[in-house]
Symmetry: none
Subunit: 91 residues, 4 copies
Amino acid sequence: MRASRAAYGREVIKWRLDQPKWVQIATELRARIVAGVYKRGNPLPSERQLVDEFGVARATVRKALAKLIEEGTIYTVFGIGNFVGPPPEDD
Amino acid sequence: MRASRAAYGREVIKWRLDQPKWVQIATELRARIVAGVYKRGNPLPSERQLVDEFGVARATVRKALAKLIEEGTIYTVFGIGNFVGPPPEDD
Amino acid sequence: MRASRAAYGREVIKWRLDQPKWVQIATELRARIVAGVYKRGNPLPSERQLVDEFGVARATVRKALAKLIEEGTIYTVFGIGNFVGPPPEDD
Amino acid sequence: MRASRAAYGREVIKWRLDQPKWVQIATELRARIVAGVYKRGNPLPSERQLVDEFGVARATVRKALAKLIEEGTIYTVFGIGNFVGPPPEDD
DNA sequence: GTGGTCTAGACCACA
DNA sequence: GTGGTCTAGACCACG
C-alpha cells in the first residue's frame, strides 16, 4: 500500500550544485567511515537502505560505492554486503 | 555478517567473472562425468559435500544440478542421492 | 530470529499442506491468467509485489514463475518484468 | 575430512534403559524450557545441533520435537526454526 | 543423512 | 526498479 519507499523530505544531506550526487554520497560515506560511524570489518547499510536514506536512484548509490571500492576503502562480499576496509587477501 | 567466506575444504575452481557460478559448477561436474571421475550409475557427491568443495551456498549447487537433470546427464532418487546417467525407465 | 512472520499485506492463500507453496502460487497465477486478471501481453506484478501479496520469500515466488515460464505460460524480459503469453519470436 | 559430525563421547545425558531416547530428549528439553535455558519466544537449537549434542539420529530428535509441538510447548516456523511457547494466533 | 522446500536478506546486470 | 545470482542458514519427507 506504500506509494514509495523513499523517505522524501528527510534526506540527510543538502546537495551541492557543483558536484555529482554520487561524488557527494561517496564523500559522505568516507567521512562516516573516518568518523567511526561505520567501523572497519563491519557492514555498511545495504544499497536499498542508502537509496532510501539519500533519496536517490540505485545507480547513483552504486556509483558512489564503486568509487569507494576502487580506492580500497570498502569491499564487497557477494550475497552478503559491503564492508569497511581493504579487501581480504585470498591466498 | 561474516566478512570473509570460510574456506571449508579447498576451492577447486577459480571463478570466472563472465558466467554465473552455477554455470561453472555444472560445467565442472559435466567434465568430471565425461572424464569418468563420476561413473554411470554411481552417485555424485552429496549436495552438502559439493557445497563444501566449491565453497558456495547449497542453492547455487542445486541450480547447477537442476541444469544437469534437465539435460538428462544425471537423475535424482529422493532420499538417496543424485546419480550419473539418464533417468531409469519406470514402466 | 523473528518468531512470527509479518503479514505484509494480506495473505490471499490459505496454504494446503499436501503441496509445496510454489506449486500453489503457480496454480493461483495460472488461474488468474485464465480468468483474465492478468491479460496476454501485459506484465505480471513484480516478483517483489508477489512476495508481499503471498507472504513468502522471493525464492519461492521465483520457483513458481520458473514453472510458468517452462510451460510457456509467461515469459521474461530482463530488466523489465514478466509478461503473459508465449515468448515472442526473435528471428 | 571429518569422519562424523557427532560428538561421540560427550553426550550430555546418560540414557535410561526403560524409556525411548526420544522421550528422554523431550523430557530434557522440557526441563530446560522450565529452567529458562530456552526462553519463551526464543529459538531452540536447530535440529542438527540437537542431533550433534545428543548423539542420536535426526528422526529421534524430530520425534521428541513433535511431542513438544503436540503438547503446545514449542512451535515451528518453517524455514526459520523452532520456538519456545504456544503457536502464535494467525487471525 | 539424502534431496526438497523455505526464509530473509544481500549485491549484480540491465533498462 | 526489474529480473538474476548468491548467501547462510532453517525444517520437511523419505529411506
